[in-house]
Symmetry: C2
Subunit: 261 residues, 2 copies
DNA sequence: GTCATATGTACAATATATTGGACATAGATG
DNA sequence: CATCTATGTCCAATATATTGTACATATGAC
């Protein structure tokens, strides 16, 4: 996805950057691919990709799986990720907060963070309705498409926000153009109020609530969200926001607080 | 830890390898460190480490945390690890197996895998005794020190095993030397019997039971273990082994089976 | 004050990593 | 049969990444 921002052509890419581009691509695809396919789809030289894939395989960062020479993310990444999760020990508290939210509201509750310059759902608890509303965990979504996005960039200056978010991410899935100035105004509003709610701009039937979970630097390290049918969301607005704020208070500082040391 | 096997001096290290050496080192230390400290402790040139750390920071692979310029594993690694875990969806089944083992035996149950050429405890459920026996999750331990180690390398030839395990790993924590031929004989025995049990060679009061969890290639992709006081282990040997085999059967093929595709 | 250690930055030299392109094979298509 | 695509390997050329070294600053010892 960073291929776009390769400086003017003719430059060589650094191995490390391409390596992580490969890893991110596999994560996004969520399936094993052949080196050849990877090269073609991320627009990298085949010889480079073969070289890097072999290096990553020998390090356990990638693994053969799915046959025919296909590779996918490896066990070593699991271990490294587990060490991160263990250090910033937010998992348990996070699950508890989502559990609590789901119990109190019967709606879909999500714990969200930034992944680079995208938004992603880290953990989710589906609501208890006959028709559940849910999203995919771990998929990268443009920041402007989400309520949480307004909160997650609120610590940046307007200019930094515009530099941070890829311009094409202001194009909504329906094709409409979200004016960056409109987005910035909503960011500032979210910052002032410490919350953001709206009828989702990526579909026609959900209402989204987001509140920040502040980390050690005082800005939103993550968000807690509820995704509800529009009617219910609007009808229960105050109660839902109370629940969210309560749950977020329980998490406060947790996502960024090392367990020891 | 791979610094030892740097080919004859005078060679440059490849950035990718050093980068993952840094990541592994941080995982092992389980705390944030300054780039300077990292360089000193892994024996790498300071300028290289600074260069790489900055690259990794800008990719979200590392994060500033702990102040004073200290860095630790970053959020991106958590996402990548979560994608791995999601693909090879063993977590839920694994927890269930450990739960079942803990219920049936009241002993400490572990799920273990190889991490490169070391053994590591991936998940654990502590026993229900007044004095619990437990180990650290995610720490790298020499393969010959463990019962599971006999099973995890059993698919390799004798020669491959000796090439795979660093020679110094046959030195036990007490300083005694475990003869590699003895180890190989135990590996073959474990392979034949589909299990391995012994009075632990790293302490004087535990008995260890290990059975393989076979992956798609048919060899031990992981192990399930019980760690018990010696008396209890020996007294309940048959029952404990039955429990382990039953639990492993429930996991069979799970650790390496992609959820879709 | 001097000296030593810890920490971070800057830069040039050269060892080498990245890359384009040639080559080989297999399968599909017509 | 010829032709095309998909896949993987090999190799030389050169753009550049790694690294030694020098430099800058802060802190503490004495």
């Amino acid at each position: 996805m960073d291929a776009v921002q390769d400086e003017a052509a003719g430059k060589r890419a650094r191995g490390l950057d391409r390596a992580f581009e490969i890893l991110d691509f596999l994560r996004q695809k969520r399936q094993a691919l052949k080196p050849n396919e990877i090269a073609a789809q991320i627009g990298a030289p085949r010889s480079s990709v073969y070289e890097l894939v072999n290096l990553l395989l020998s390090n356990g960062i990638l693994e053969f799986t799915g046959g025919e020479g296909r590779v996918y993310l490896g066990r070593k990444l699991y271990f490294l990720g587990a060490a991160y999760e263990n250090h910033f020990d937010f998992t348990r508290e996070c699950e508890a907060a989502l559990e609590q939210l789901a119990d109190e509201t019967r709606e879909t509750a999500q714990f969200c963070m930034l992944d680079g310059n995208k938004y992603t759902v880290v953990r989710m608890r589906e609501g208890a309705r006959p028709f559940r509303i849910s999203t995919d965990i771990g998929q990268s979504v443009p920041i402007p498409w989400t309520a949480s996005g307004r909160l997650l960039v609120a610590h940046l200056s307007d200019q930094d926000i515009l530099n941070f978010i890829p311009p094409q991410d202001f194009r909504l899935p329906g094709g409409e153009w979200l004016e960056p100035q409109t987005f910035l105004a909503e960011v500032r509003q979210a910052e002032r109020e410490g919350l953001f709610t709206f009828n989702s701009i990526v579909d026609s039937f959900t209402h989204c609530f987001a509140v920040p979970v502040r980390g050690e630097e005082g800005h939103a390290a993550a968000t807690l969200c509820l995704v509800t049918p529009r009617d219910d969301g609007i009808a229960n607005r105050d109660r839902y926001l109370d629940c969210l704020k309560k749950a977020a208070a329980g998490l406060e500082h947790a996502p960024a607080r090392p367990r020891r040391g």
